[in-house]
């Protein structure tokens, strides 16, 4: 059964139809590339899945249950995690502090509970090991490479047994070697049974790591294909409109 299913989802802002009648489903352990030009509706689509917007029409289902979300915290509670394009990291804090930001572990009880540094360092270390990242829990984020910063942002999503991770342009603006690191991180998520939606402009990354690609154009879904049966040329054509529909 699909982890997430969108059925005829639309979103309009006044007269602007940002997303128009889009349906697709997402399986566990699947990496799906979401591509499209600027303004194609990718961001709006993702923001609906992330709980930022409510669809104007259509329904979303998770594990067969209808999914109604009013704010981003609801999405997180349902196991939907987002890695923001700017990563949303605090440079002045350690890797572990960033991983647990907003969800700090504490010990003691009630008003006397204090931060449980030891457990947070340990758990963060375990997650980094699971991601096969060399990031160290006590290091300050300020001193980290782009790839390590990505690892910190991705580690956050693994705190609470996420089912779906939405990644917004994770490979924009980082070096070639770091891109490889990030793609490995995505494979680790996949191998942990997490469904990943990879929003990207970078064709090679999508063809490298995704098994399926969804192409949006002017708010509509124009293609939903297995990577194996597509090609970068075809996807480029779909994005630009040179090819109408696949």
């Amino acid at each position: 059964m699909a982890v997430l299913e969108l059925v005829n989802v639309s979103k309009h802002f006044g007269a602007i139809q940002a997303v128009n009648d889009v349906s697709f489903s997402l399986d566990a352990g699947e990496v799906v590339g979401l591509m499209g030009d600027n303004g194609a509706g990718k961001s709006t689509l993702v923001k609906m899945i992330a709980g930022n917007f409510r669809p104007s029409h259509g329904t979303m289902r998770m594990d067969g249950q209808e999914l109604v979300m009013h704010k981003p915290v609801d999405a997180r509670r349902h196991g939907i995690e987002i890695v923001h394009q700017d990563l949303a990291l605090c440079d002045n804090l350690t890797a572990a502090a960033n991983v647990f930001l907003g969800r700090e572990l504490r010990r003691g009880f009630g008003p006397f509970s204090i931060l449980d540094y030891a457990s947070m360092y340990r758990r963060a270390g375990e997650i980094f090991a699971e991601l096969k990242s060399e990031t160290r829990p006590r290091d300050l984020v300020r001193k980290m490479s782009g790839g390590q910063r990505q690892a910190v942002a991705i580690a956050r999503t693994m705190l609470s047994k996420a089912k779906i991770v939405l990644m917004d342009e994770p490979t924009a603006a980082i070096s070639v070697r770091q891109v490889a690191e990030v793609l490995n991180l995505i494979r680790q998520l996949r191998d942990n049974g997490i469904a990943v939606v990879l929003i990207s402009h970078r064709m090679p990354d999508v063809f490298d790591v995704a098994s399926r690609v969804i192409v949006m154009r002017r708010g509509r879904k124009v293609a939903d294909k297995q990577i194996a049966s597509s090609s970068p040329e075809e996807v480029t054509g779909l994005i630009t409109g040179a090819i109408e529909v696949a």
């Binding site: 915290v73 923001h84 990291l89 605090c90 440079d91 002045n92």
Partner: protein, 332 residues
């Protein structure tokens, strides 16, 4: 050799020594100690118990407010109203007690006034998006004016039935001859240090100062926390006002004038970063100590008091210079 998970987790970026050498607060402590040693050797009057008692007590008022200011500065904000809030708190206490109420009522009224002002500052800043500089600059004027209204701009020096209790509270020395204000300062510093290091609230304050947008995205309740830090800052000014009233034994409407600059200077000299995300309770104390030692030493060395501002201003610039140099090294 394979690195085990435990080793990775335990790995720190710096040894204790290198961390201390790169720490602004450490160098300020060194400066304070060197200055004290120098003054002990070069003057007869510095290392007398009377002078030390004076120094430690004078430090406290700036230091206590600097503790509160540290919270605000860590979030990336600033509070210019503390000097006026101190004055208003003192005046509310004085007027209430002068009217015949007990010291308890007076203290509650003073604290409540301070908290209300902090809440007002915080709500405007957090919920209406006002720049902290503007809101608290306005409050600097408002609070002092309210103090004048409350007292009709007179000097209050009679505090009703609990007059002696109030003077003992601020002027006494209940423990080993240490001035009471110093004891309060130490207790408040320990509480501040604890909150900053060990509570979720403290962690969130640092997160807001580091990247407010990220804090919001990860579910940190940014707005309530911002209101809270301005309330804490005003509270610290209110507490300092109460203690200072007891110590001075009289309240005028010009106490605490210009104090905000000393307080901010103390926090910054102690290592707090006005850009947000950095600051410690201990730093606030040593920053305040350095300012007071400079002031005291100028007097003892017979240097014209007009030079005070130059030296304190120089210390601020020097402290920030250290910070800049360290950041330049980091960015290489």
């Amino acid at each position: 050799m394979a690195v085990t998970l435990d080793q990775t987790i335990a790995q720190k970026q710096h040894t204790l020594v290198s961390r201390m050498l790169g720490n602004q607060t450490f160098w300020v402590v060194v400066a304070v100690i060197l200055a004290c040693l120098f003054l002990t050797v070069s003057t007869d009057s510095f290392a007398t118990s009377k002078n030390l008692f004076n120094i430690t007590r004078n430090v406290t008022f700036v230091a206590i407010i600097a503790l509160g200011m540290t919270f605000v500065i860590i979030t990336g904000g600033i509070d210019l109203s503390v000097g006026s809030v101190l004055c208003l708190s003192s005046m509310v206490l004085a007027v209430t007690m002068h009217a015949g109420y007990s010291i308890e009522v007076g203290i509650v009224a003073a604290i409540a006034t301070s908290l209300a002002i902090g809440a007002f500052n915080g709500l405007l800043i957090a919920y209406l998006g006002f720049p902290p500089f503007v809101v608290t600059l306005g409050m600097l004027s408002i609070a002092r004016s309210l103090a004048m209204v409350a007292s009709n701009n007179t000097v209050v020096f009679q505090f009703g039935p609990d007059h002696d209790k109030l003077l003992a509270l601020g002027g006494g020395a209940w423990l080993f001859g240490i001035a009471n204000p110093v004891l309060y300062m130490i207790v408040l510093a320990l509480i501040t240090g604890f909150i900053l290091r060990w509570t979720r609230f403290g962690r969130h304050i640092f997160a807001i100062g580091g990247n407010e947008h990220a804090a919001r995205l990860t579910g940190v309740p940014v707005r309530p926390i911002k209101v809270a830090v301005y309330m804490i800052c005003a509270l610290s000014a209110g507490i300092a006002g109460i203690i200072q009233t007891g110590w001075l034994g009289a309240v005028t409407t010009n106490i605490g004038a210009g104090m905000e600059l000393q307080v901010i200077a103390a926090a910054v000299i102690g290592g707090a970063n006005l850009a947000g995300g950095v600051g410690t309770a201990f730093g606030a104390l040593v920053g305040a100590a350095l300012i007071e030692v400079i002031r005291n030493s100028l007097g003892l060395l017979g240097i014209n008091a007009f030079w005070q501002g130059t030296f304190i201003g120089g210390a601020i610039v020097l402290a920030v210079l250290f910070d800049r140099l360290r950041n330049l090294r980091l960015s290489d």
